[in-house]
């Protein structure tokens, strides 16, 4: 079963615009991670935010976490065509990650 659910399922934006994806989860977490997947291949780790953190930045990425609402958001600023991919949030127990269903982002040149 999926722990997280991303919203929206698909997003199409123009290059240079910002993209925001949201993730909701069901149970308590130690941390939450975001991954990117290009063309149905391997996943690439983007950022990890711990349960005691509210916001984290990495380059053009900004992640927020609201544990009271069991939700997180990923913001990609100044998007590029190369950002076109599927984005997944993941939470988990001590030995596994539980992924959401993902947001498919299309950045139009």
């Amino acid at each position: 079963s999926q722990q997280g659910e991303e919203d929206p399922q698909a997003l199409s934006i123009q290059e240079g615009e910002n993209a925001t994806m949201n993730c909701s989860y069901k149970t308590s977490i130690n941390n939450l991670q975001w991954y990117r997947q290009n063309s149905g291949r391997g996943l690439v780790h983007l950022i990890l935010i711990r349960s005691n953190e509210r916001e984290k930045h990495s380059g053009r990425l900004r992640v927020t976490l609201d544990t009271s609402k069991k939700s997180s958001s990923l913001l990609i600023t100044a998007s590029r065509a190369a950002d076109t991919a599927s984005y997944f949030c993941a939470t988990g127990s001590s030995y596994k990650l539980i992924f959401g269903s993902g947001t498919r982002l299309l950045v139009r040149p």
Binding site: G42, L43, L48, F88, S94, Y95, K96, L97, F99
Partner: protein, 113 residues
């Protein structure tokens, strides 16, 4: 340093057959996890192995099995293949068994006809 490697890249099997997928973790990583990703969905956890012992198992039938070798590489075996086993199988490695950042391989695309 090489990342996580998986073989083969693609595989076509027929129903009822058996398949073995292989994974080599990043050097120094002792944990290997396997995930199944059906088209249009997020990865689903199958197994985690750490120091050659199974540490966790997802909700998959006994047709799925795995093992980890002394060099920390791993195999995923699936018996009596069903059409529904068609998916991308992902291997991930990490430094420890505790939930943290995982490094994924490119995956093996399995098609069952």
């Amino acid at each position: 340093d090489a990342g996580v490697t998986q073989s083969p890249t693609h595989l076509i099997k027929t129903r009822g057959q058996h398949v073995t997928l292989r994974c080599s973790p990043i050097s120094g990583h002792k944990s290997v996890s396997w995930y199944q990703q059906v088209l249009g969905q997020g990865p689903q956890f199958i197994f985690q192995y750490y120091e050659k012992e199974e540490r966790g198992r997802g909700n998959f039938p006994d047709r799925f099995s795995a093992r980890q070798f002394p060099n920390y590489s791993s195999e995923l075996n699936v018996n009596a293949l069903l059409l529904g086993d068609s998916a991308l199988y992902l291997c991930a490695s990490s430094l420890s068994s505790v939930y943290n950042e995982q490094f994924f391989g490119p995956g093996t695309r399995l098609t069952v006809l």
